[in-house]
């Protein structure tokens, strides 16, 4: 349902919400925050990739994965392997007993680069792997599970088990993976030092750019018939099946899509934070990713971005001042969102703020273009991406149906 002219789209309600988010991320935050804080925001945004994927996969299609950290981690590790190899030149590692391999391998008595590290000398291979490896794993899991009609709680538990398996594996195989410390000490990307303030600011903008790319892909999917089928499948899988759709194929697709987003997020995470470790991909980390999506509104891709930002900002805030209170807050958040606000902030926005907007717009049509983004961006308010001509199913979740 794209409007005929792309420019006109920016004046629609949905377009304005995108503009508002862009203004917030590209103008306001960079102006307001020092490079260190901006880097933190960049880190939070890498989780937004995962959250957008979860909106598509869990919110729309009803497939809850408690193992998105796996895909996030695979993307991140692929990037980290490339950066680590670049940092481990024979000159830089001359003091090792085997120069030219990553330091942790040397500490673990490896004398040769393992075969699966070899291709990560190539940057183009790495870029491919950042998406390809998570998608491949998602495809294998999805194919095995969805063609056998495994879903719901079973799927959630199995994905969680996979997150556990990968974490234990990475921690156990120190020599190949860097173990519990992860892959650290990453320095340059194709010769460009990623640790300077300037590089971090640039990476932040790259991350925002990638995020919008993912948002547009997700938006495309949700607005096409494909998106409608995903939602319909969630509510009435059998009717969809007997309307002639291969339900398993659609589920595999959306699961792979979510994995691809998560992989990109993970790679950006490695670049922005400067290291990757198993603690970001395990059971606890994976399930936290679900709350980013749930808080933002499980059906709203823009909401997911705000959810990821807010939860992570709150987490940092709490752990600086009252670390012992954070688990209580997090627990309360899980319970509260699920029980009281199943549509998250986007749902609240839709019920309480959008009617107000309607009033304002009716009175003041001309000022619409400028007034909207300014008002919106003043604080990171959650948005829903609903426009009047939207398909109703894109944005409403009624608990009774699923």
């Amino acid at each position: 349902m794209k409007s005929s002219s792309p420019l006109k789209w920016f004046a629609t309600r949905e377009g304005l919400y995108f503009v508002a988010l862009a203004v917030l991320l590209v103008v306001l935050l960079p102006l307001a925050l020092d490079p260190f804080r901006l880097n933190m925001v960049g880190k939070y945004l890498t989780y937004a990739f995962v959250a957008i994927g979860l909106v598509m996969c869990w919110g729309k299609a009803g497939i809850l994965s408690l193992g998105q950290g796996v895909f996030f981690g695979l993307g991140g590790y692929c990037m980290a392997m490339f950066l680590k190899l670049e940092a481990s030149t024979p000159e830089a590692t001359a003091i090792q007993s085997t120069p030219g391999i990553p330091d942790f391998m040397d500490w673990n008595q490896l004398t040769e680069l393992p075969w699966f590290w070899e291709p990560f000398h190539s940057f183009s291979f790495t870029l491919l792997a950042v998406i390809g490896v998570p998608v491949l794993l998602a495809f294998v899991i999805g194919f095995a599970m969805f063609t056998r009609r495994v879903g719901g709680v079973y799927f959630a538990i199995i994905t969680q088990a996979i997150a556990a398996i990968l974490t234990i594996l990475i921690i156990g195989q120190q020599g190949y993976t860097g173990g519990v410390n992860g892959i650290t000490d990453l320095q340059t990307l194709n010769g460009w030092d990623i640790r300077t303030d300037e590089a971090r600011t640039i990476l932040y903008f790259v991350c925002v750019g990638m995020l919008f790319l993912c948002l547009f892909v997700a938006r495309l999917v949700q607005n096409r018939k494909l998106g409608r089928i995903l939602v319909a499948m969630n509510a009435q899988e059998n009717r969809v099946r007997f309307s002639g759709y291969d339900v398993a194929a659609f589920k595999i697709f959306v699961f792979c899509l979510a994995a691809a987003f998560a992989g990109v997020g993970g790679a950006m995470f490695t670049l922005i934070v400067g290291f990757m470790s198993p603690s970001f991909i395990g059971i606890v980390a994976s399930i936290e990713m679900v709350i980013f999506c749930a808080l933002g509104g499980r059906l709203s891709i823009l909401g997911a971005v705000y959810g990821a930002l807010l939860v992570n900002a709150a987490k940092s805030g709490f752990s600086e001042s009252f670390p012992e209170l954070w688990p209580f807050a997090m627990g309360a958040l899980f319970i509260g969102v699920v029980l009281a606000f199943p549509n998250g902030l986007a749902g609240l926005y839709q019920t309480y703020v959008m009617p107000l907007e309607d009033k304002i717009f009716k009175r003041n049509k001309g000022a619409q273009l400028e007034a909207k983004p300014a008002e919106k961006a003043a604080e990171p308010k959650p948005t829903a991406e609903k426009t009047p001509d939207y398909d109703p199913m894109i944005d409403s979740y009624s608990p009774e149906k699923s």
Partner: protein
């Protein structure tokens, strides 16, 4: 991986690791029973199950402290008091949780998963605030120390044996409750056809609450037993939760025997492989095999065929 062992050596390795695996087996059975009852009845997975178990463990810890200070003469029997207390406290909390959130989330099993995960975070942090982050242990009563010498190679620690006996008696108890009592009949009626069960006058909401409380109570007893073979920390419960889910799912959600068989299989596989591989690789391999089999046979080992 068997290179370099003679067959008789292999035999005793298997025997030794087999007995070691029995402790793990007991923990799995104890945790899985409560989880399976709730999952089988309501299709709900209680992510806070491990924390309920730890609540039972802390109850036992406090009871043992109380006996040590005030009733040292009766110390030998504190465990049985603790077990009853653990059951009651956990069941009461379970009923409260059911009333507070679970009953509002029927038909939304995925949301229940998230909500109970939130509950588990809160419970863990509460333990950390009350009992501290360090693990605590209880003193075993005298009669539980020592071991029984079976052959000159093989000896069985009494506490491990005792815990296994508890695990199996609870399993038998649950069997009688589910298949030989009026309550069990109602539970099965609700599982098979909720509207019909309601139509014939079964209070299905009451059954749900009772089942949830029962599952949590059993978790409490599991926690009490757990203190006899290990120490208790705020997040000890979480360490077992994924394995236990797999035990339940692998066994076939509604099958009691399946649960026990799969608990036995998984614990034995893990402890046997631990001897040949590093602990983490043994775990990875076990989990991989279980997940792999579940992908091929998602209904678990023993499953009921029900119309969907």
């Amino acid at each position: 991986m068997f290179d370099g062992y003679t067959s008789s050596e292999l035999m005793s390795i298997f025997a030794m690791q087999g007995f070691a695996g029995l402790s793990l087996f007991s923990v799995f059975v104890l945790m899985a029973l409560g989880l399976a009852i709730i999952f089988g009845q309501m299709g709900v997975i209680n992510m806070a199950h491990g924390e309920f178990m730890i609540l039972g463990a802390y109850t036992t810890y406090l009871t043992s402290g109380f006996f040590q200070s005030y009733l040292p003469s009766l110390f030998g029997g504190y465990f049985f008091v603790a077990m009853v207390l653990a059951f009651l406290i956990c069941a009461a909390l379970g009923a409260f949780v059911e009333w507070l959130m679970i009953r509002r989330l029927y038909h939304r099993p995925l949301d229940t998963l998230l909500a109970t995960w939130g509950l588990s975070l809160i419970m863990q942090q509460a333990y950390r605030s009350i009992f501290g982050a360090r693990e605590v242990g209880v003193d075993l009563p005298e009669w539980m120390m020592g071991a029984i010498q079976v052959t000159d190679l093989v000896e069985l620690p009494i506490n491990g044996l005792f815990v296994m006996i508890i695990a199996l008696s609870i399993a038998v108890g649950v069997y009688f409750l589910m298949y030989r009592s009026g309550y069990g009949k109602k539970v099965r009626a609700v599982v098979q056809n909720r509207p019909m069960a309601e139509a014939v006058g079964i209070n299905s909401a009451g059954i749900d609450r009772a089942t949830f409380a029962l599952g949590c109570g059993i978790a409490g007893v599991a926690g009490a037993a757990f203190t006899m073979i290990g120490s208790t920390g705020p997040s000890s419960g979480q360490a077992y939760i994924v394995d236990t889910f797999l035990v339940v799912v692998f066994g076939g959600a509604q099958s009691l025997i399946g649960t026990i068989v799969s608990a036995f299989g998984i614990s034995q596989a893990q402890s046997t492989m631990e001897f040949f591989l590093s602990g983490s690789m043994a775990k990875v391999l076990t989990l991989l095999v279980v997940v792999g089999i579940l992908m091929l046979r998602p209904e678990g080992l023993m499953a009921l065929k029900v119309r969907r």
